[in-house]
């Protein structure tokens, strides 16, 4: 087989085309731009025939048209990605033009009727000259080199465009260059498998790789390997059975690999096994970690990026009641605020994802002789190695040594309402505490704190001074102060300026950093609730669990439901798929809902009766991932690299 020159040429050119297609295709699939690739393949057809009609080198038209087509689509910006109608309309016309050129070309009488058209449409890999081979090798190497330079920012921009923009990555430019690169590869592949079939080489091996693994490096390797395998096997088959056209055989092999990857789960497991064999512990698969605080200790649940199967560990913290457990992304430590009847309030910490734990309460005290007493460490916020602990009676302690020792940061002294919470008569357990602390997105010295039953306060100087932030909120009870007296339950931030708030009497939104609030309760079954979560990638999407007010505080009608808005609160939609719909009188506490930051975020909530529910598709469908935990007071999620 290798004795034939045409076969050697085909194998060499095909291999390089395959590798380039496999690598570029992996990003095409990741960015959901397969349709753009489809359009480019038709642009290739038109470009080649335009060149033929004008009587110039077909390759010139081919490369010019596809690279230009890619850049134009990239220049349409986000639209090139989202609006497939525009792509479709454009390339339907492109095809019409192609037909025109074909007819001009064939009527001009140069060449036998339609052969050039067929060659462009379906490729002619066995007809490549040595010069053609050299060109495709050079182009493939160039494409791979561009990818090598572009790879990391491209991956970042593809996975999380918003964050990438915020980090100063030139996302638009990268998208433009990438589509130009797809155009280059498309033109190169047109010579081998033809304009109509090159999509298969871009999409099928890459799609198979994406089905088998979510890891970029492995996925890229598999994708290139599959494409290479398709070319080799396809060419060999076509050589052995000369009636079978090589391009068909290549694409059929690629499609076969895709089907195998889709349906052959043992293969999937095999790849998983060999992975585990080569990377024993601490593999760099990103883990999704749930931290669950319960009445009897903290629990950890782990899963991969799929978030389907979960491993439960615990109880930790010697089964002390844990009110809130959080993760510090910078140090990797887990902290848990706990209160034991014997030992009082303390913060537990683990630096090895829960393998070993220690606790400290050093410094968490208002002093022996004072009138203020600490009844509970109720909430935590950890950032950049610093831990803030919100306690009851209201005060915030901080630790700058990773939870070894603590010191008092603030008691919000002098704020309206403080005379009530400083009064010892108002300090029996369970009354007025700091129930939540929320950091600003960037500024470590700026955060918001909720004082239970009083309202929301903001500091911009690390707790030295405070301002009430409750303008526009509603209260159904008399208030002694203008600025405070509101029962704020939960505040979450969706982007730079926007916050959502669930309080005792309604849902609210602020678009100006909590300066003013607008009520958005309309459309929800009740105005009462505790838990809430904001979508990490879409500022208008937000989740809440409304509860029946009064003393039941469980889900209305016994139907477990999370409500979602996609338009910042103008309308609400129930999410129920997979949640119990009969006799499910579940309560969800303030911190007991969380959302992760995956591409398609996962949503989690725990109930005060110990069930833990998870959704790996933004709330579209749910499953119960733990059923018999102690009453759950907090759920937090982290992605561990």
């Amino acid at each position: 087989m290798l004795a034939q020159e045409f076969m050697r040429n085909a194998l060499v050119a095909g291999s390089f085309v395959g590798i380039a297609c496999g690598l570029v295709g992996w990003f095409v699939v990741l960015r959901a731009q397969v349709f753009a690739g489809d359009a480019l393949s038709h642009v290739a057809f038109t470009g080649a025939l335009a060149a033929a009609a004008l009587g110039i080198d077909i390759r010139a038209g081919l490369f010019l048209a596809t690279i230009l087509g890619g850049v134009v689509m990239g220049a349409l910006g986000d639209r090139a990605r989202a609006d497939d109608v525009v792509i479709g309309t454009l390339f339907a016309w492109t095809l019409g033009l192609g037909v025109l050129f074909l007819s001009i070309f064939t009527t001009n009488g140069s060449g036998s009727n339609g052969t050039a058209g067929v060659r462009v449409l379906f490729g002619s890999i066995f007809g490549l000259s040595t010069a053609d081979v050299r060109i495709s090798v050079v182009l493939a190497v160039a494409a791979v080199a561009v990818l090598a330079v572009l790879g990391r920012p491209l991956l970042f921009a593809s996975l999380d465009g918003v964050v990438a923009v915020a980090q100063g990555v030139p996302v638009r430019m990268i998208g433009l260059v990438f589509l130009g690169l797809v155009g280059l590869v498309a033109a190169q592949a047109t010579q081998a498998v033809g304009a109509l079939l090159l999509l298969g080489l871009l999409a099928a091996p890459a799609g198979a790789a994406h089905r088998l693994t979510g890891r970029p490096s492995l996925g890229l390797g598999l994708s290139a390997l599959f494409a290479l395998g398709s070319v080799w096997l396809g060419l060999s088959l076509s050589y052995v059975f000369p009636t079978l056209p090589p391009s068909t055989m290549i694409i059929s092999t690629a499609a076969g690999i895709y089907v195998a990857a889709m349906s052959f789960s043992p293969l999937r497991r095999l790849v998983g096994l060999s992975l585990r064999a080569t990377r024993p512990e601490g593999d760099d698969m990103p883990k999704t970690l749930l931290m669950v605080g319960t009445r009897k200790g903290a629990f950890l649940l782990e899963s991969d990026a799929d978030r389907r199967d979960w491993n439960l560990r615990g109880p930790y913290c010697e089964a002390w009641p844990v009110y809130h457990a959080v993760h510090d992304a910078v140090t990797g430590a887990i902290y848990a605020a706990a209160v034991s009847e014997w030992h009082g309030s303390a913060v537990w910490r683990s630096n090895d994802l829960g393998e070993t734990w220690t606790h400290s309460s050093e410094g968490i005290s208002y002093g022996e002789d004072g009138e203020r007493k600490i009844s509970k460490a109720s909430t935590l916020a950890a950032r950049n190695g610093r831990v803030l602990v919100g306690v009851e009676a209201p005060g915030i302690f901080e630790s700058k040594d990773g939870g070894e020792t603590f010191s008092l940061l603030t008691t919000l002294a002098g704020q309206p309402g403080s005379e009530a919470w400083d009064d010892p008569a108002n300090q029996p357990p369970g009354h007025l505490g700091i129930s939540a602390i929320a950091f600003d997105k960037d500024d470590d010295a700026r955060f918001w704190a909720i004082v239970q039953g009083v309202g929301l306060f903001e500091t911009t100087d690390d707790g030295a001074s405070w301002t009430p932030r409750n303008r526009g909120l509603r209260a159904d009870w008399p208030r002694p102060h203008e600025e405070v007296g509101f029962c704020v339950h939960k505040v979450v931030r969706s982007d730079d300026k926007r916050l959502f708030q669930q309080n005792h009497v309604g849902m609210h939104r602020s678009d100006d950093d909590a300066l003013t609030w607008t009520e958005i309760t309309e459309g929800l079954p009740t105005e009462f609730g505790f838990a809430a979560a904001a979508h990490p990638h879409d500022r208008d999407t937000f989740y809440v669990v409304p509860l029946a007010p009064l003393h039941g505080r469980t889900m209305p009608d016994g139907k477990a439901t999370v409500w979602q808005t996609k338009d910042a609160g103008s309308s609400w939609k129930p999410l129920r798929k997979g949640l119990p719909q009969e006799g499910a009188h579940l309560g969800v506490l303030r911190e007991a809902m969380a959302i992760d930051t995956h591409d398609v975020p996962g949503l989690y909530f725990g109930t005060s009766t110990g069930q833990l529910f998870a959704s790996n598709d933004e709330g579209g469908s749910w499953s119960e991932i733990a059923s018999y935990l102690p009453p759950i007071s907090s759920v937090e999620v982290a992605i561990i690299d």
Binding site: V29, L30, R31, A32, V34, F35, G37, D38, A53, D84, V85, G88, T89, L90, A92, W93, L95, G96, L97, V99, L100, L102, S103, I104, T106, T107, N108, G114, T115, G117, V118, L121, F122, G194, L196, L197, L199, G200, L201, A203, A204, A206, G207, H210, L244, P245, S247, T248, I250, I251, S252, A254, A255, Y258, K573, P574, R576, D599, D617, G620
Partner: protein
């Protein structure tokens, strides 16, 4: 037939780019229109084009609404596979069109499982498309000496359409439009907001499958006139234009049909009087209308 496959007039011979593009135009509109109806093949072509345009306008409107242009394009390419398979097997081409487009619709529905990531789903669609095309090419090369046939399968012909073919087209179009009319309301609901529709008890998945099958049906039918590569133009462009101009469903469908009819008739007439293929005219006219709508709206 005497001329080449791309030319409307059987007697037309090849001309250079610089020579007259439009031949036989008399500058007398009445006579020209009458000339259009002189030959039976042209009458059949206009009848078939009308039926196809009406159906493509209706189905295409839903396709664009459902953002299934990629699926529609893939189905339109499976039409080529169907036709070439039929030629190879020696059965009527119509049979090949409908069988393979139906299978394609089922495969697409299977690939687009509930709530799969967009990238992977489109990778599946792309793989199906390329595989179908590859098969089509295989069938054509197994069936020797059909290069002209290949081109007309891909780019369409409206020469030699028989009256019985027109009848088949009419029946299929009537069935497809009737199906959409019956399921129109829930289909609209499921297309606009699948989640709420599901919560309201609409069988979204079933409707999706049903719609893909109807889409396959209409693609199979339209391909016979426009060819597998250009069917897409008639499905997507008039509908996209209509949706830019109005968001009201009924007005949108009517507008989409009107535009499809307009470009089909004009395209056929232009092709009749010129040497360039009908597909070029239909795609260019509809694209021009789309650009106009974008500029105006």
């Amino acid at each position: 037939m005497g001329g080449s496959w791309w030319s409307a007039r059987p007697t037309c011979t090849g001309t250079m780019l610089t020579s007259a593009v439009f031949t036989g135009l008399s500058w007398n509109p009445v006579a020209d229109v009458r000339a259009l109806f002189t030959y039976p093949f042209m009458v059949h072509a206009l009848a078939a084009g009308t039926i196809v345009a009406v159906m493509a306008g209706v189905i295409g409107w839903f396709m664009v609404l459902r953002r299934q242009t990629f699926a529609g394009h893939t189905l339109s390419l499976t039409a080529f596979t169907g036709a070439s398979a039929a030629v190879l097997a020696g059965v009527p081409i119509v049979l090949g069109y409908f069988t393979v487009c139906g299978l394609g619709a089922l495969a697409l529905a299977g690939a687009s499982g509930p709530r799969r990531s967009q990238g992977i789903e489109s990778a599946a669609t792309g793989s199906i498309q390329a595989f179908a095309l590859g098969l089509g090419f295989l069938f054509v090369s197994l069936y020797h000496g059909v290069l002209n046939g290949l081109d007309s399968l891909l780019f369409g012909t409206f020469l030699g359409i028989t009256s019985s073919q027109v009848l088949v087209l009419l029946v299929v179009a009537a069935v497809a439009i009737a199906l959409v009319a019956v399921a129109g309301r829930p289909l609209l609901f499921a297309s606009v907001d699948p989640d709420v529709a599901r919560a309201a008890g609409v069988r979204v998945q079933l409707l999706g499958l049903g719609f893909l099958l109807v889409l396959g049906l209409s693609v199979a039918e339209t391909s016979q006139i426009t060819g597998a590569l250009l069917v897409f133009a008639l499905l997507v462009t008039p509908a996209a234009t209509a949706q830019r101009l109005t968001t009201r469903p009924l007005a949108g469908v009517v507008l989409s049909v009107t535009l499809a009819l307009l470009v089909t008739w004009l395209g056929l007439a232009l092709a009749y009087f010129s040497v360039y293929p009908v597909g070029f005219y239909i795609t260019s006219l509809s694209f021009a209308l789309y650009v106009l709508a974008r500029v105006l709206a």
